[in-house]
Amino acid sequence: MVKIEINDVTYDVPEDFTVLQACEQAGIDIPTLCNDDRLVAHAACRMCLVEVEGMRNLMTACSLKVSDGMKVKTHTPKVIEARRSVLDLLMSNHPNDCLTCEKSGECKLQDYCYEYGVERGSFVGERRDLPPDESNEFYDYDRNKCILCGRCVRVCEELQCTHALTIDNRGFGALADTPFRAGRAESTCVSCGNCVAVCPVGALLPKREKRIRAWDTKKVKTTCTYCGVGCQLELITHKGKVIGSKPVEQGEPNHGLLCVKGSYATDFINHEERLKTPLIRRNGVLEEASWNAAFDLIVSKIKETKEKYGSNSLGGFTSARCTNEDNYLFQKLFRAVIGTNNVDHCARL
């Protein structure tokens, strides 16, 4: 533990904390655009600037580690002015599209501009004017809204390990993109959507059939049903229908990551052919049945078979789409209750 003074109050914080983490612990809000605790500190957006006693320049809270006796000021006029300048510069090279932008309502840039009173960029001059990349099946990239926070590039590289993205070109011409700006479809992208999930602005957004405002949606936390990892995700719903999903930001087991299925394969939920009840075959025809009826039938058949032919006449085959916990209980049922080791699962998708 070290002692650090933030806005004249002393706190005890673990020595491997960044100033940002120390501020979070103290309940002090520091704006961040490029920071992601899972990634190597990038210190690029410069929103998290704070004043540190003894340092000539403003320092980035996201990259600076605490040290004993450090004195930090988080909201001095100089700091506020610097953050406003960052926003001003970003907005001067950004479409003022909030009225129609899909991200509106959950956009960090919009939120900070509101908080710091930046209505529009004050610098007139060149603006990035590039065509969007709509080549991916599941999401679009509006190049003109990118603020170069680099989170997409880094999540793809450091966590997803696909290395589909890079920062292309330099200076004012720099952009987060696929190599040679050839587009997602031409890249090694596996459509996991993790870049989309971390983009703080509306540059990366899932394709949507209908335009739906963020504040008109509901988010329901659940477990992904595609495999045994049990990733935590939020299903996004609108008027009772699932319209998409995104990873829960933190926590086991997926730490904010998903694969292509968790991110984008939610369409089946509203599919008309989707099974919604168990089916029981009667006289060669599958008929809808209640869960109770189905379970009764299963139990009676198992009992009957076991009595007649013994435990080893039964075998259980489960699915890799069940969670680990489900599969654990399933084999327990077969080994301990039914009494056979004949148990397997598909282990592939």
């Binding site: 990038h42 210190a43 690029a44 610097a82 060149e126 890079t166 330099r170 200076g171 004012f172 720099a174």
Partner: protein
């Protein structure tokens, strides 16, 4: 008898290789017993190609601007024993300019053959490392460097011993030493001069530093645009290995072994920034990392790493051979030793000069550099390249030391000195440097990526006559923000040329904005060409030379320029023999 041809990149560009060939032929034809050798650059670019003649008594005669004819003449004169009568013997004035310098880091440049290790050893080379290994502990080496007061010559001027010590104290056994030979400042070429003219000085300096900090592996990061430097480094490294200075247990003492390799960089200015350099070394895009952690804590592949500049390293063998005191005896209280400056711009004698710290700017520019080209008036000098600032005439007599230069708003930097005369427009000059930093910005952080572009756009606006009241204040505000909020040194200094020109030449900015006039008559959009009917004889030469037919008039009648068509090329101004064309 020996003839030595200066064959640095500058000499070769001026025709030194050709001169060498002619000399070779002529010597053969004459049958005289004259040896022929090469050396690096002595720094007097304006006199290249330079050839030294050393007679049997050891007397040296320097010939300058040696073209094919002169080369032939030189051999003839030697054979006839009348070298002094040669017209291209260096002038006394140029000799004096050389004598005023004090050469430590360039001590062998232009004197020894860089491709011959024996010449380096004969001049006292590899004695310093021998002393270190045989007689000193690493701590004692660091102490000696501390006594010398040497500060980094790569830009920031950080005390070298402190960096050595930080890397030595940093926990871990695997440590690295890196030489920054990226030399990206436009106009600066002192590092190239050392690499091409005295590569063993760098190698020895690095071995000593490696011993001091406990790093057994060194890397020289050199820009790929320096092919000759890379070639000579490779030759020098092979020779050093052969003699047991590299890759072998040094002097059989069982104490230290050092290996060295070269990494050619692709030549981005930002890759000279130490953390971007490390990223590049690791095979990544060259973009800076946040500091702290500093390289001494977490450098190359996360290991403690010390990075120094070429000139810094080149001073180290001198310090260890002659003692820190000998180095500290030169220079001023806060800035010890010498500094190499690259004189460029509107100066008579452009080139490299090495002078004791504390010499005045006036002495460097006028005493050594010969003053302003065409004897025009001195206006300012840009020190420290695009990261530096301009220093106006009123500070000509300040001493060149770290503190004094910093006080003016400029920086010592790597030692670039671009001299400007009365015809230089300061707004245009600031725009030139901003254009450079804007293009070289890596684009990682917001203030530098977006901010330098906006500053450049405002400067463009002003020089095009579209400036508005309030622009100067906006430039100052934005400039200060970029300096205080950027991630790396590039952004943190990018505004200096603008801020210093506003500080010292605000009236020029105001003239551009308020009066739509460029006092130095450089900003084309603000110029108007007119013909004085009193002076015009109607000779028609201007009309015939105007590329866009903006000038009308009949023979022997005063001519007129149509300002709507005129593209302000200045051709009429040049060709009029009666001074009738004026520019405002």
């Amino acid at each position: 008898m020996k003839l030595i041809v200066g064959q640095g990149s500058c000499g070769i560009a001026a025709g030194a290789s050709k001169a060498y060939k002619i000399l070779e032929e002529e010597i053969k034809n004459s049958g005289a017993n004259i040896k022929l050798g090469s050396t690096g650059c002595i720094g007097m670019c304006y006199l290249e190609p330079i050839v030294d003649f050393i007679d049997d008594d050891g007397k040296k005669t320097t010939f300058v601007k040696v073209d094919e004819e002169i080369a032939k003449q030189i051999v003839k004169d030697i054979v006839a024993s009348k070298v002094d009568s040669n017209e291209n013997v260096i002038s006394d004035e140029d000799k004096e300019a050389l004598a005023k310098q004090k050469r430590i880091s360039l001590r062998n440049c232009g004197i020894i053959d860089p491709e011959n290790i024996d010449e380096y050893i004969e001049s006292g080379g590899y004695k310093a490392i021998e002393r270190c290994i045989k007689e000193m502990t690493p701590e004692e080496v660091i102490e000696e460097v501390k006594v010398s007061g040497l500060r980094g010559r790569g830009g920031a001027g950080f005390p070298t011993w402190f960096k050595f010590n930080a890397a030595r104290q940093s926990p871990g056994t695997e440590k690295y030493l890196v030489c920054n030979a990226d030399e990206g400042d436009p106009g600066a070429f002192m590092d190239r001069s050392v690499l091409e003219g005295d590569p063993h000085a760098l190698i020895e300096g690095m071995i000593i530093a490696g011993y001091a900090i406990g790093a057994s592996e060194g890397i020289i990061y050199v820009r790929a645009e320096y092919p000759l430097a890379i070639k000579r480094l490779n030759i020098a490294m092979a020779q050093a290995e052969e003699r047991g200075y590299l890759n072998k247990d040094l002097f059989g003492e069982g104490k230290f072994k050092f290996s060295l390799r070269i990494k050619a960089g692709a030549g981005a200015f930002v890759c000279g920034e130490e953390t971007a350099l490390l990223e590049s070394l690791e095979g990544n895009r060259g973009t800076p990392r946040p500091k702290p952690p500093f390289p001494a804590q977490k450098g190359y592949w996360g290991k403690p790493t010390n990075i120094n500049n070429v000139e810094t390293f080149a001073n180290v063998p001198f310090i260890l051979a002659n003692g820190g005191d000998a180095f500290a005896a030169v220079g001023t209280e806060d800035s010890k030793g010498t500094k190499v400056f690259a004189l460029a711009g509107k100066i008579k004698k452009g080139g490299l000069v090495e002078v004791p710290m504390g010499m005045t700017i006036r002495e460097i520019i006028f005493g050594i550099g010969g003053g302003i080209a065409e004897d025009k008036g001195f206006k300012a000098v840009q020190m420290g390249g695009p990261s530096g600032g301009c220093i106006p005439a009123e500070f000509l007599d300040i001493p060149v030391d770290y503190a004094s230069i910093t006080k003016t708003g400029a920086i010592m930097g790597s030692g670039g000195m671009v001299v400007m005369d009365e015809t230089t427009c300061m707004v245009d000059m600031a725009k030139f440097f901003l254009d450079f930093t804007c293009k070289e910005s890596c684009g990682k952080c917001t203030p530098c990526r977006e901010g330098t572009k906006r500053m450049l756009e405002m400067l463009e606006k002003i020089t095009e006559g579209k400036g508005e009241p309030g622009d100067i204040e906006k430039l100052e505000e934005l400039g200060k923000f970029i300096n205080s909020a950027s991630l790396c040194g590039l952004g943190q200094t990018a505004s200096n040329p603008v801020l210093t020109t506003i500080r010292y030449f605000r009236d020029e900015y105001e003239a551009h904005i308020n009066d739509k006039k460029c006092p130095a008559k450089q900003c084309k959009a603000l110029l108007t060409y007119t013909i004085d009917p009193e002076k015009c004889t109607g000779c028609t030469i201007c009309a015939r030379n105007c590329p866009v037919e903006a000038i009308t008039g009949t023979l022997k009648e005063p001519h007129k320029i149509n300002p709507d068509i005129c593209i302000k090329c200045g051709k009429c101004y040049e060709v009029c023999r009666f001074g009738a064309v004026s520019v405002e």
